[in-house]
Point group: C2
Chain length 162, copies 2
């Protein structure tokens, strides 16, 4: 099934690895957007829910910085998931300017669905690769991400569905 060593293409695939990464990354982001749309979520909303799962109770400023989103945009993002009953803002008694963010029960439920969607998406992208190829690919990509100074949480490439 895997066409090992297929380099017969001419002209050669433009731009090599960097071009392929940009091209595939954009397509992966689009496919992910389509998948989470089935849960009535946008990719930024999905990213926020996941971040809250990991760091429940942190302030909006904290999440906004962590996710690389400007505070003004972040407000609307929180509004959108709060109005759907997925996330709660809780005033902090110690500093009444700040809100801590928490998932509601409905939010926790949706996160399970989101986990399934993520696994299906992963399978979509890596379909046809052997376990060895996947391991090597994951290692190479992690190496590149580290070299580019990318941190696991920040995802500058979220894309809305048109």
């Amino acid at each position: 099934m895997t066409m090992a060593g297929d380099t017969r293409r001419e002209p050669p695939r433009g731009g090599g690895i960097a071009f392929l990464l940009a091209q595939i990354g954009a397509q992966a982001a689009t496919l992910f957007a389509e998948r989470v749309a089935a849960l009535d979520l946008t990719p930024p909303q999905a990213g926020l829910l996941r971040a809250i799962t990991r760091q429940a109770g942190e302030s909006q400023q904290w999440f906004a910085k962590r996710l690389g989103v400007p505070p003004s945009r972040f407000v609307q993002l929180v509004d959108s998931v709060e109005q759907r009953g997925l996330v709660e803002r809780r005033r902090r008694p110690t500093d009444r300017r700040a809100y801590g963010l928490y998932l509601t029960d409905a939010g926790e439920e949706l996160m399970k669905e989101l986990g399934k969607v993520g696994r299906a998406h992963e399978e979509d992208i890596t379909r046809g690769l052997s376990a060895e190829q996947r391991a090597a690919l994951h290692e190479a990509l992690t190496h590149i991400a580290d070299g580019l100074g990318l941190t696991p949480e920040v995802h500058p490439g979220y894309r809305q569905l048109r």
Copy 2:
């Protein structure tokens, strides 16, 4: 130098291969945008110049479809490089509705610089990977791109520099 088999991270890097691809792809696109900005080009302009290099004389419609850009946007794209003297529109005698697109001498010159930029960018991204890792990575990415139905020319992920 390469940290082979580094899977100690916790929590594990989010989303696995698909997430890494989207994250890296976005960053690669941004870095490329910064590099071509040194030539006073945007990524879509660079993509157009490269396409014309390969298929000089084809019509605007042909290129627009090939690059996945709507005709209305394509007009402005051609305008921008024509005004800089990099590209020429030539009316077709056989069908006076259509224009064939050609690089000017200045355009050919700039393409050489663009080639250098592309190679430097490729090195930026793949820095620290062994020759074997690069070959395996290229193969895996080509496989993924084929699986996603991506063609070598179309690049839906061009991103403007902000």
